[in-house]
Symmetry: C2
Subunit: 269 residues, 2 copies
């Protein structure tokens, strides 16, 4: 029986051209290609475009098929299988779980990396990566129950002078993406319950929309101003800044349209 | 006068094939291509190989030329200029500074992302990205002066149950790379002064060497065991884990050769 393999290939941020050359080479040499678009999704392309551009038939799996993973593992025992994943390759627990199961079956595995929202957003804003604390994800409240953990993460980071990357909910089953506006609203609602003055109308927040695309929207302003804006199509991400270095203030001013009066005020702190 | 532009292109982690297709397209359409290898370096390739593979002449700048940036900015005023950077595009302050200066001169700028050590290392280890606190960089002590800030970062993350990515010093001018062994030694020396029991001989540490290459070395064990090992050619990175989820322990066991007895012990905590 031929020896199979399972390679996780990161597709990167936005469209079919964010994959690395290494990833594309490997994809094209694969006998079977799987992908899933439920943990995240490439907004700048479609399944059809990807298949045409890569020159490969891709089997797109839903959540249940990915989590069960039997289809993937069965093929990977004897065939050269690739599994395409948005962003970098192993960010979701499901993918780690799949890799462990493959290793347990004696299948050779490999990871080919892709570009990720975790470094793209700081980079676009000109904020220093080593000044970010823990990343958090804001999910839609269910039955008016607001999960406070993102608020706690922001609070803890802010108290340590650190920035927080806030990723926003994506519900693949209902094709629903949280906008930066909804995220701000949810954070203000949590604030109104917690009352620690972490997120107020006058707080400085950064919004990045469509990272990886040709014209990502990158903006920094007070919450009360951002609330009124339309950031366009998904994905949106937020950054709640901690203490800002003068170069970071300059970056937000020049690269993220931070208003003059705010930049001046921040430089004086 | 024609309108110039300056595009920062992330080369990714290891060799000339880690660039994205988008990055390569843009590079090949550029009139002038600059790069620098002093903030980081692609270990799996050479300047010659890059030029041949990309089909472009690349002007490699040293630290002084990059920081002064006059050569780049002058060309970017009227020409389509690309600036190639290791990892994702804007991780070093110098690059952010360069972008701000270009914007101030009315030059159109763009960022094309690359894969980064910041997500690659957690991914290879199967550790969850959102459980990482602040990243730190360990530099060589000068005149026997040991900078304690990496130790403080690890301590603060550990106290909050978070993992720490520890990047290791690279001194381009003397072509010197810190090995994981030296890093461990330095951390133990800092520990012997600080005495907070954050890094001891029995602490669990993870080492990743040559992330992005075909066969990265990925290993998790006690410091006293790792100290004896040879991790091969650079770059090396460390992760000091905080609290581990059972799936993370399983990942370290199966993907990073964490010894059976340690995996069992950790699962019981």
């Amino acid at each position: 029986m031929p020896q199979g393999s399972l390679t996780f290939i990161g597709l990167g941020l936005y469209d079919e051209k964010d994959i690395s050359l290494k990833g594309l080479d490997h994809l094209r040499e694969s006998e079977i290609v799987f992908s899933e678009f439920y943990t995240a999704r490439l907004m700048g392309t479609t399944f059809n475009k990807m298949e045409k551009f890569f020159g490969k038939k891709i089997r797109f799996l839903n959540r249940a098929e990915t989590e069960r993973a039997d289809i993937i593992l069965k093929k990977a025992k004897t065939k050269k299988v690739s599994f395409l994943v948005c962003g970098d390759s192993m960010s979701a627990t499901t993918h780690v779980d799949l890799r462990i199961r493959a290793v347990n079956l004696g299948i050779k595995t490999r990871v080919i990396h892709g570009n990720s929202i975790v470094t793209a957003v700081p980079g676009l804003l000109g904020l220093q990566n080593y000044k970010f604390g823990r990343t958090t994800t804001l999910v839609y409240p269910e039955n008016n129950f607001f999960p406070v953990s993102p608020y706690e993460v922001i609070k803890s980071n802010k108290n340590n002078g650190l920035h927080t990357l806030v990723l926003l909910d994506y519900q693949a089953d209902v094709d629903r993406f949280m906008t930066a506006n909804s995220a701000i609203e949810i954070l203000l609602k949590i604030e109104s319950k917690m009352k620690k003055k972490i997120i107020t109308k006058n707080s400085l927040i950064c919004v990045v929309a469509r990272a990886g695309s040709k014209n990502p929207l990158v903006i920094a302003d007070k919450i009360c101003e951002l609330k009124k804006m339309d950031f366009g199509s998904p994905f949106h991400s937020l950054v709640v800044p901690g203490s800002l270095h003068f170069m970071e203030i300059e970056a937000l001013h020049k690269l993220a349209s931070l208003p003059d009066y705010m930049a001046e005020k921040l430089q004086k702190i």
